[in-house]
Amino acid sequence: MSITRRKLLASSLLAAAFNPLGKTLAAGADVAHSSAPWHNWSGYLQSNPAQRFAPKSEQELADFMKGNAGGVRPVGAGHSFSPLVPTNDALVVLDNLSGVVAYDDASTTAVLRAGTRLSDSGPMLDQIGQAMINLPDIDRQTIGGAIATSTHGTGLGLGSLSAYVTSVRLVTPEGRVIDANRNDNPEIYQAARTNLGALGVLTEVGFQNRKPFKLKSMAWVEKTNTVIESFAERCLEYEHYEFMPFLHADFSLVIAHKETDGALKPPVPEEDQGDIFGVLSNLPVFARRPVINFLVEAIEPSEAVEASYLALTNIRNDRFNEMEYSVAVEDGLACVREILDTVTKLGIDALIPLEYRVIEKDDSWLSMFSGSAKASISIHRMAGYDYKPYFDVIEPIFWKYGGRPHWGKVHSLGYDELSNLYPHLDDFIEVQTELDPSGKMLNQHIAKILNRNV
């Protein structure tokens, strides 16, 4: 297990400040009772868990699950915008279960504990000569949380994190520990690769990785029409390619990564860009286009060369709520155009660009990419602002294109609609019901998805 520079610094600061006498202090039990509500990352979701349990070992977790008759919801980094986590019963926090459990050089696979944050997994894997094949752009998520919702990055031929899961180990709602892979418990394996946190609590996840690699990161602003017209060609040119069309504007921000053997070139530190969007938000929507065009055209292209795990992930400091649907790749560009036109036509007062990515198919039952490659399109509204008027207008456009909602992002669908979009939903429900007959792992949102009673 590796220690990142941040953790090393953190540990040395702690040694001096918390523990000036240099004594080793044993950590106490980790069952916290708090009167403060739990909130997700954006602050939109909240609940009042009766207890928050952070096991320090798998055995502690198994004992807890066995002895706990009430409801249980596991939480990672709280980055889901859909109410997968909220519970007034027990919240299980996996932060103590972190690190590399085992790895194999020959097959380039590694098993990580489910509470490992993506930001920590990069250096950990690098130390054992491995790297994840692709990564999402937010680095604070935990492995367990990311797998639960088929979290993804972008790139032609590159799948979501769930696509590269080779094995899982989970503690069932009744406290049993189960290992699953393609050969052993194959149905649990397929269900667990995108599990909504509904099968129990994942403790370990095995990944197919690759040897460490470097990426040249490039970002530039370009006319949206040009980006759309050249999209297929560019996806072949860059291993990881996405664009973010600005609303009420004619331009997109393009982000591309290409593998390289070139020398490392750290990114230029960001400048304080001032209150650009504060200024824009004071302008009437109909007057924004020329101003936004004028501003974004001035964004200078940037380049950097970094290890893949640094290039692909970011710290997403600023909080928002998000809706994302995945549509057939051949429909994606028409769908994004329709959304842009609708935002303009209706004068929707939103400023954050859309995000457009492509993801390879996988065979995980509940992945948004199960069975076919997809284009994912995201819309965002800043935290603290009511996203419903905007999202409610755009969601039917996604439906029109047969879109599948991202499990961790805002959507309004229940079992009836989802069972038409996810052919294996009933298979998942069968496994879930078998593992959790009493419905310990259900909250209202998950019960609505799975057509079960809480």
């Binding site: 950590a27 970002a219 230029v268 969007f277 200024v279 800043m382 935290a383």
Partner: protein, 143 residues
Amino acid sequence: MLKKSLKVFAKQAASLLALTSAGVSLRRLLLVTAMTSLSVFTLTGCETKELQGVLLTQPSASETAQAQHKWVRSCALCHVNGEGGAPKVGDAAAWQPRLEQGGDVLLAHTLQGLNRMPPLGYCMDCSESDFRILIDFMSRGAQ
């Protein structure tokens, strides 16, 4: 209040542009800013509040040990390097204006989130008591 919220909104929205590590021409920004500067400008009162302690009671060794463990895996994600403008651990100057708001306000901001600080600061199993210990530590860590 609305204008203050808009400014917060603006800073947050701008972060998506920050993914590029690119800068917007200052001249262009100033031009546009000048167009609407009157409407954006807000007056804020300047009030000095009495310094309040964050800790309600002296933590036990066990409570301190728990908080120590939690700090490394949560607060340290941002407060070591100052991600997103987070006050760095031990940076007395950065913490001073926050401490002046009082321990209860700091705790409330931690629980509910504020600007770029997510609610609970990535510590999902921290109690209020843990947060008070952690805030106290970070605000005096360099001593």
